[in-house]
Symmetry: C2
DNA sequence: CCAGCTATCTTGACAGCGTCAACATAAACT
DNA sequence: AGTTTATGTTGACGCTGTCAAGATAGCTGG
């Protein structure tokens, strides 16, 4: 035999030692390649070098694995987002522009991951893990919090109900992201112009 | 045997007679029930009363069947849309409000169909049938045409590039529709308020 | 130090899926 | 009437997710 995949610290033991995170890592790559449907638990197990059913000792089913992947996606996006928000010396309007540009860029760079994070596979079926919820819900809620702030800064119309405004503005960037990653708008080259257009519509005159 | 599904005009012949449209009909229902993944060609054939592979004489593969279903979805939406546009005695603003409300209502009433029509299954994989393209592309393009008209009517900002504006406004209603049918915004009860909010953002003062 | 418990990994099996190949039937055309 | 063509059938293959049962190894208590 001896055909096990070698890593630096390969122990080649019966027990893998760190299978769970290895699975999430490899699965994230597989997701990137072939999307949710292209992510096969059997191929995944094969890639990591364990038997078909080994993953089932770390994830109840495919859904739980997907939730784990999505969780990582939310964490990384949260980092990107706070990096944008923490920038100084930027007008609120410019900061908002960068935010939605960064949002769509994240989606465009990780289309399959975005589809997993904000797609129906997890949310429509209502199969989100608790730990995924713990990461995702704050991310959803942040959109409302930020919207309130933007209203207070005079960037967005104060007259509108904050929740509705957040839903519409997030809906917009989500919709643009989806049109992009779903292949309806093929070219990324116009993203910037679209973001500018959205900012013009949503934000009061500079 | 005699277990064939009976219809009024049941001929019980070897040849079905109208299998193709029967398949599309039954498949549309199945889609409504279980979504794209829940639509199984084998169950479908069983439901219609033919053998597993009979559908393959009418559709090259599952994708072609899906395209045929989507085609019907576009036709029906086109009817709804023109009905809205043909209304008289309505201000442009009110007409636009009814349009986006109707759009989202159509999506909410036919979530799985909408997912098929505007989802990645068909467009990302670039597997749309020619006849589907012939129905879908005009529908996409209409959004631009209407946007230009709305700009000329003074409803939407004339300064913005028409194509970008169309992309952003369509992106918005598409995004809201998706958030709704993907189970991220669970309740339909706030649709009207969201539409009002969107109209306020996009359209100049009445 | 060793017995036993538990976590982990294995092979075997099953039902469901889309789809190809080969064959059967009926209708349509020459 | 005879042949082609359209449409239906059964059989088979490889893929999928997942359950059940058995094997191994590491941990924990006596």
């Amino acid at each position: 035999m001896d055909t096990k995949p070698e890593t630096k610290l390969e122990k080649n033991t019966y027990h893998h030692g760190d299978l769970r995170s290895s699975l999430v890592d490899a699965a994230s790559n597989m997701l990137k390649e072939g999307g949710i449907d292209g992510l096969s638990l059997r191929k995944l197990a094969d890639k990591v070098g364990v038997s078909r059913t080994a993953p089932y000792h770390h994830f109840k089913d495919k859904n739980e694995l997907l939730c784990a992947i999505a969780e990582g996606g939310f964490s990384r996006w949260q980092q990107d987002a706070t990096a944008i928000f923490n920038q100084h010396d930027l007008s609120p309007r410019e900061k908002y522009r960068q935010f939605i540009q960064g949002y769509i860029a994240y989606a465009a760079d990780n289309p399959e991951l975005y589809d997993l994070m904000f797609g129906r596979t997890i949310w429509k079926q209502n199969t989100a893990t608790q730990s995924l919820r713990d990461v995702a819900y704050p991310s959803f809620h942040q959109q409302v919090t930020m919207t309130r702030q933007w209203q207070q800064q005079g960037l967005m119309p104060a007259g509108e109900d904050t929740l509705r405004l957040a839903q519409v503005t997030w809906g917009t960037i989500h919709g643009i992201a989806r049109l992009l990653i779903d292949g309806i708008y093929a070219d990324r080259s116009h993203i910037d112009e679209m973001c500018d257009c959205a900012v013009n519509l949503f934000c009061s005159e500079h």
